[in-house]
């Protein structure tokens, strides 16, 4: 009995620590990402020098892809809360191998979301003024505070369960660079696998798992309030908070499935992230998509039934006007069809669910675009003495490059985290293998 447990422990350690190294492949991949980032940074320098004039933003549409991208990133980061807290606290065991993936996604997307806001500032050096002169009545201040809080809690929720694994890396991974070993030494906090230490770690995980639920709900509700607290037709609705949160889970589930697929494939984790995980994540995605579809219908139909003057113009443009092709493609092609497909068991196998998730994630990005931009094209008060082209917004090349940069940054952060730390929790995997054998 002990022998076989020992053996399976060794196998788990070997399998899961295998990815903690800097192979040629990962170096090439990082080099490629860094090269792309430098190209994007070139455009950002251009924007810094010339101001927001290099973008397609103008007097009428003053929030463009930067803001819709910000909303998307905040949305994607919310999944960490759903999987590691809500499902974890309920007691689902199957999530154990994908917990860390969800947390890595949460941390990287949330960290980068804060940076995106700065790219939307023509004078980023004035960021400090927000803290010096900010009014606590303003949702923008709430947003900044809650984003920072969420990043810190997500980092802790990634770090605390990692402590036993960092200690393991410190003991087993002698071949890594000295700097990395020093990081392991500092971050492992002298963890020596004592039962009391495990107890402490589990206690802090529980505290953080509870704490992150209200903060995660707050981060996306406050983000929706940036819109809903104004009087603009199309944003001025009371359902915006839950509407954003439910949409966030759709985007987040899709992001987790995509990450699961690539981590499993490139790190050979087929024994840990199994087809059953894809099956269950697919079901979860169907559930959150159903909630989101319900909120979509509610959000649109209530306004479309009454057609108040301001709403009428906006709805006309997105339902059958010039913004309608993107709207229907996003709603039907990017939400309804994918979730209906996911109901079929065969579609919840790894490859089909990867493809469906990519479609959902891309549509989720465009969905934020549809929420943020068309509303501004119909201002309540006519804006006078501006060129005709101001009433339609098209992002420019520098703007698109600066919008792509955050995605590259997220990939870099995810790569680094998954190369320095095991992407599946080793000690929790051991625990579940013991439980399996005892059964």
């Amino acid at each position: 009995m002990m022998d076989s447990a020992e053996k399976s422990f060794k196998k788990v350690e070997r399998d899961l620590l295998a990815s903690v190294n800097w192979g040629v492949k990962s170096k090439v991949w990082m080099g490629f990402l860094l090269l792309l980032l430098v190209v994007c940074l070139f455009y950002y320098v251009k924007q810094l020098r010339n101001g927001l004039g290099v973008t397609g933003l103008n007097d009428i549409v003053s929030w463009g892809v930067y803001i819709s991208n910000f909303v998307f990133f905040v949305a994607a980061s919310l999944i960490g809360m759903l999987i590691s807290s809500v499902l974890g606290l309920i007691g689902f065991k199957w999530i154990t191998p994908i917990l860390r993936i969800a947390e890595i996604i949460a941390v990287s997307f949330a960290m980068v979301a804060g940076l995106i806001i700065i790219t939307d500032m023509g004078r980023p050096e004035r960021l400090l003024n927000v803290f010096i002169f900010g009014r606590i009545q303003s949702p923008i201040i709430w947003d900044i505070v809650v984003v920072m809080t969420y990043v810190v809690i997500s980092l802790l929720l990634l770090y605390v369960p990692l402590i036993p694994d960092i200690a393991l890396c410190k003991d087993k991974k002698k071949g890594v660079p000295a700097f990395q070993r020093w990081i392991y030494k500092v971050l492992s906090l002298g963890f020596t696998y004592k039962p009391n230490q495990f107890k402490l770690v589990e206690k802090y995980i529980r505290i953080l798992a509870v704490l992150i639920i209200p903060v995660a709900l707050a981060i996306h509700t406050v983000t929706s309030w940036l819109f809903a607290m104004t009087l603009r037709a199309g944003w001025d609705t009371s359902i915006f908070g839950p509407y954003f949160v439910s949409g966030a889970f759709v985007a987040g589930c899709a992001a987790v499935i995509i990450a699961m697929y690539f981590f499993r494939k490139s790190y050979n984790l087929q024994d840990y992230i199994t087809d059953s995980h894809f099956n269950k994540m697919g079901k979860l995605l169907v559930m959150v998509a159903l909630i989101y579809v319900y909120f979509n219908i509610n959000e649109l139909l209530v306004a479309a039934y009454k057609l108040k003057s301001g709403e009428a113009e906006h709805l006309q443009s997105i339902l059958w006007g010039h913004g309608s092709p993107m709207f229907w493609l996003v709603q039907i092609g990017g939400l309804v069809i994918p979730f209906v497909l996911l109901i079929i068991p065969k579609m919840r196998k790894p490859l089909p669910s990867l493809i469906i998730s990519i479609v959902i994630l891309v549509a989720a990005w465009y969905k934020r675009y549809v929420i943020v931009i068309p509303v501004q094209e119909h201002p309540f008060l006519p804006v006078q003495n501006v060129p005709d082209y101001y009433s339609h917004y098209t992002p420019t090349l520098p703007e698109i490059a600066i919008t792509i940069a955050p995605f590259i940054l997220v990939l870099i952060i995810m790569t680094v985290l998954s190369k320095v730390f095991p992407v599946v929790s080793v000690w929790e995997a051991k625990e579940s293998s013991v439980e399996e054998q005892n059964r």
């Binding site: 606590i136 809080t149 605390v160 906090l189 002298g190 704490l211």
Partner: protein, 287 residues
């Protein structure tokens, strides 16, 4: 169809050419003159009336920006208008013709003279003719204002020089505002020389309920004007729009509920975070 249009067009041409004939004032009215001096006050009064009643067709005098109509309304500073006598102009404003409305219904004598005073102010060579006042009695009107707070009415008494009531005086009452006067009403005194004007007690006055009331009266060639501060409305207590604690105030004046909610959430959440961070080194002690 084209035939029909030609007929209409032809008819219109005949119609307008009939109107385009010389517009003459009756001889007996030609020599009428204003008994009021065309001073700055009357010109300003006329200017305001001109904005409201004349400018839409005649445009601003000297600017040649009158409407394109047939017959043309013309610029009132033009020689064609200025060469007419005051009496002719008075008649044309009063009686109207074709597209020119009959302003005698809407304006009183003094107002029409004030319009003429305004139009004449664009003619530097104009000299106001002296009125022939032989045999004309100019009533001397005295105005006495009071406020009846039982029925919320402004009471205007018109008296002659001997202090006797003067009936049949046209009286107009206004409230003085920041950007012009608000007309309370236009009335004619009864046989006791009294005219009443309703006052809405909800109108905004000052902290004591005072308002500047302007009353203008006229009868024949006589006229009078009184401006008087009177306590006629409810007292108003003025508040700054950012006084007190509001969502739209500066940060120091944020509502208490917001400060409490914001700070307590912040302290609660960050307190827990700090508790966890401070507690982490305990792991080392346990080894």
């Amino acid at each position: 169809m084209p035939k029909f249009i030609y007929i209409i067009f032809g008819l219109m041409t005949c119609f307008w050419s009939a109107f385009a004939q010389e517009w003459k004032a009756p001889e007996e009215e030609k020599e009428n003159v204003s008994i009021r001096l065309f001073d700055n006050e009357i010109e300003t009064e006329g200017g305001v009336l001109f904005m409201n009643s004349c400018k839409s067709c005649h445009g601003s005098p000297t600017q040649e920006d009158f409407s394109l109509m047939l017959p043309s309304p013309g610029d009132l500073a033009s020689a064609k208008v200025q060469n007419q006598t005051d009496g002719e102009l008075f008649y044309k404003i009063r009686a109207g013709k074709g597209a020119m409305p009959k302003f005698g219904d809407a304006l009183d004598q003094n107002e029409i003279w004030s319009l003429i005073a305004y139009v004449r102010s664009f003619n530097e060579s104009y000299k106001q003719p002296e009125p022939n006042l032989e045999g004309v009695v100019i009533p001397n009107i005295t105005l006495n204002l009071s406020f009846d707070d039982n029925v919320d009415k402004l009471v205007v008494k018109t008296l002659d020089e001997n202090g006797n009531p003067m009936p049949d005086v046209t009286v107009k009452a206004f409230v003085k505002g920041h950007f012009g006067n608000y007309l309370l009403g236009k009335s004619r005194c009864n046989e006791l020389g009294i005219a009443y004007f309703d006052i809405d007690s909800k109108m905004p006055g000052d902290e004591e309920g005072n308002m500047d009331i302007i009353v203008k009266a006229s009868k024949g060639f006589g006229s009078a004007k009184v401006t008087q501060k009177m306590r006629v409305v409810d007292a108003v207590s003025f508040k700054s729009a950012i006084e007190g604690r509001h969502l739209w105030s500066v940060s120091k004046r944020a509502p208490y509920w917001l400060i409490v909610t914001f700070l307590s959430s912040l302290i609660g959440i960050w307190g827990t975070i700090i508790y966890v961070i401070v507690g982490l080194p305990k792991i080392k002690k346990q080894s």
